[in-house]
């Protein structure tokens, strides 16, 4: 297995190529641009197609068209660009189209800045566009996961006929790290009897989302609801770090999830029984991860790069049985492992002497 040193965004491009992605539609925006640059350079060599679209709206609708043909397709952008894609994502969810959408989060709102942020958590996990739909959201926290979860994203998209968002940030996108380009088993075979590729020897197919009557509309909503329930039942993913005997829990994902691991190790050195739950799927939110702990731990701190978005899901997951606090940095700033621990110690009045 090949081990290489690549920038985070380049890893996503390489993983897409090795996932059987055939077409990529994008539009440059910092800090995601290396995805389209990497693919522009390397994709044509292996028969892939890259189109630099007129705008993000064009790019996502090209993805929509490609996905209708059953072709593996990806687009990548950053927060303001992903806002522009929301109409297309809503339409893709309504038709049931597999596609991978990379959001290398930058801080906002508005044009914001280029630093790492998690301020698009609500947008990613609540559908993002109009109408009641969900997208599967994966949150890598290091190079190898950028590779692995990009590939997983394609498989999940096909499995559920649903858009999948790879939710990363400018820090992960711009950092160079070694990654193992693992050989992957062949993609699982999924149903193709819906694909629009020319009505040769079969009845015509139409992929569209307009519901002519309210009755049809409700039937569609119920069908999608059942799919989302199924995904919630089967696809919750998370990582636990020193949780077995934890008295306090940090909850954090992506870049801050990674920083929190250092916080946990520092706390343990001081004798504080701290653990970490790192959500890997942001939607479905891994509520199941909290079941063993919600009657046990004394308090929770979510660590986020926003004004507190995931904290709502955490409070629901622990049924508000314990205090849940937020430690956050914003505007492109990252917390140090020490300031997170200081916050925990102050908030819950835990000291090394006490324990």
């Amino acid at each position: 297995m090949e081990k290489v040193l690549l920038k985070g965004n380049e890893i996503i491009g390489e993983a897409a190529i090795r996932s059987g992605c055939k077409v990529f539609f994008g539009y440059p925006i910092t800090p995601s641009t290396e995805v389209i640059e990497y693919l522009s350079k390397h994709f044509p060599k292996v028969g892939g197609t890259v189109v630099q679209a007129e705008d993000e709206i064009g790019a996502i609708n090209m993805c929509y068209g490609a996905a209708c043909t059953g072709t593996r397709v990806m687009t990548a952008s950053s927060s303001p660009g992903v806002s522009l894609k929301q109409e297309g994502i809503s339409f893709s969810a309504a038709v049931g189209l597999p596609m991978v959408i990379v959001n290398v989060n930058r801080c906002g709102p508005g044009l914001g800045g280029l630093g790492p942020a998690q301020s698009d958590y609500f947008q990613s996990t609540r559908g993002g566009g109009h109408g009641d739909y969900r997208t599967i959201v994966l949150a890598p926290s290091k190079a190898q996961e950028l590779y692995d979860y990009t590939q997983l994203a394609f498989d999940l998209a096909d499995k559920y006929r649903n858009p999948v968002i790879l939710h990363t940030d400018g820090f992960l996108g711009q950092t160079m790290e070694p990654v193992v380009l693992k050989e992957r088993p062949k993609a699982p075979v999924t149903d193709r009897e819906w694909v629009v590729d020319g009505a040769k020897g079969r009845k015509k197919r139409v992929l569209a989302s307009y519901s002519l009557t309210n009755e049809i509309g409700e039937a569609n909503n119920l069908r999608w609801e059942a799919k989302y329930k199924d995904i919630q039942d089967k696809e919750q993913m998370w990582e636990e770090f020193h949780t077995e005997d934890a008295e306090y829990l940090l909850v954090s994902y992506g870049t801050t999830g990674r920083i929190c691991k250092s916080t946990v190790l520092n706390a343990r050195k001081k004798g504080i029984k701290l653990g970490l739950i790192r959500p890997i799927t942001l939607w479905p939110f891994p509520a199941n991860a909290f079941i063993p702990y919600k009657d046990k731990v004394k308090g929770v701190v979510t660590v986020e790069l926003n004004t507190g978005q995931m904290i709502e899901d955490v409070k629901l997951a622990v049924e508000c049985k314990m205090p849940v606090h937020l430690y956050r940095r914003q505007g492109g700033m990252l917390p140090t492992e020490h300031e997170i621990l200081d916050y925990l110690e102050t908030t819950f009045k835990v000291t090394a002497e006490e324990v």
Binding site: V23, V51, E54, D55, I57
Partner: protein, 250 residues
């Protein structure tokens, strides 16, 4: 007995649902005949927009994809880039392609995407009940220009084919009308040429078809045809606006 006239194989048996006197049905039939004559029904994927033209997905017998308002060409590009050996066409109203979808109209042409776009121009938003479109004529009354389109407020109508013909990637651009039997024949020729251009892989082909909307114009079907001839045809440049040497030699 020999059957000399029937429903085109390019159409399903779903009856047209358009208002009396609307020429959408005529235009769809022409496209269906072209698909049949070129023997490409099974190779073709159509893209429908939002608006009255959106019903096209039910009427054609080829595969179809329904796009968001204005996005049909971007969707068509995604299909064509994935399956380059298939035929892809978009069927869009003037509101769809010349207002909310203008960025795709320009860039699909500029990139020379090997798809065909048909624009049905009736100078009004039909489905939503007769609002001003980018193609609404000066002085024309609509529900959002109740005193007539005032150029000082709303600017000028867009002649999209004229704009598209300036782009190098567009190799065939025509503006036709279906107001008379003669013009219907001309329109069919242009549509056929547009599909042949795509089949030969020459570049982007675009046909604008002037159409009527008696319901929202508030006049009878017969008067509508006369109104189109007297008011729209002088404003919109008609005929073959562009055919490259390669296209001419097809």
């Amino acid at each position: 007995m020999e059957k000399v006239f029937g429903r085109s194989k390019g159409l399903t048996d779903v009856p047209f649902s358009f208002c009396p006197g609307c020429t959408h049905g005529t235009i769809m039939r022409l496209i269906a005949e072209v698909l049949e004559e070129l023997d490409i029904i099974e190779d073709t994927i159509g893209v429908s927009p939002v608006g009255c033209a959106g019903f096209s997905q039910d009427f054609f017998s080829c595969d179809f994809v329904g796009a968001a308002h204005g996005r049909a060409q971007a969707v068509g590009v995604g299909i064509k880039r994935s399956l380059p050996d298939r035929m892809v066409f978009t069927y869009q109203g003037d509101g769809d392609i010349a207002a909310i979808g203008t960025q795709h109209a320009i860039h699909t042409a500029a990139r020379g995407e090997k798809i065909t776009s048909i624009m049905v121009n009736n100078a009004i938003f039909g489905m939503t009940g007769g609002q001003m479109a980018p193609t609404t004529l000066e002085g024309m009354k609509t529900s959002t220009s109740p005193y007539g389109r005032d150029i000082s407020v709303n600017g000028y109508p867009i002649d999209l084919p004229r704009l598209i013909a300036n782009l190098d990637g567009a190799v065939y651009v025509a503006s036709v009308s279906v107001d008379s039997p003669k013009n219907i024949q001309q329109a069919k020729k242009a549509i056929k040429k547009a599909f042949m251009v795509q089949k030969a892989g020459l570049g982007f082909s675009f046909v604008s078809v002037l159409s009527t909307c008696p319901t929202n114009w508030g006049i009878s079907p017969v008067e509508s045809l006369k109104w189109l001839r007297e008011n729209m045809m002088p404003v919109y440049q008609m005929g073959e606006l562009k055919a490259t040497e390669e296209v001419k030699s097809l």
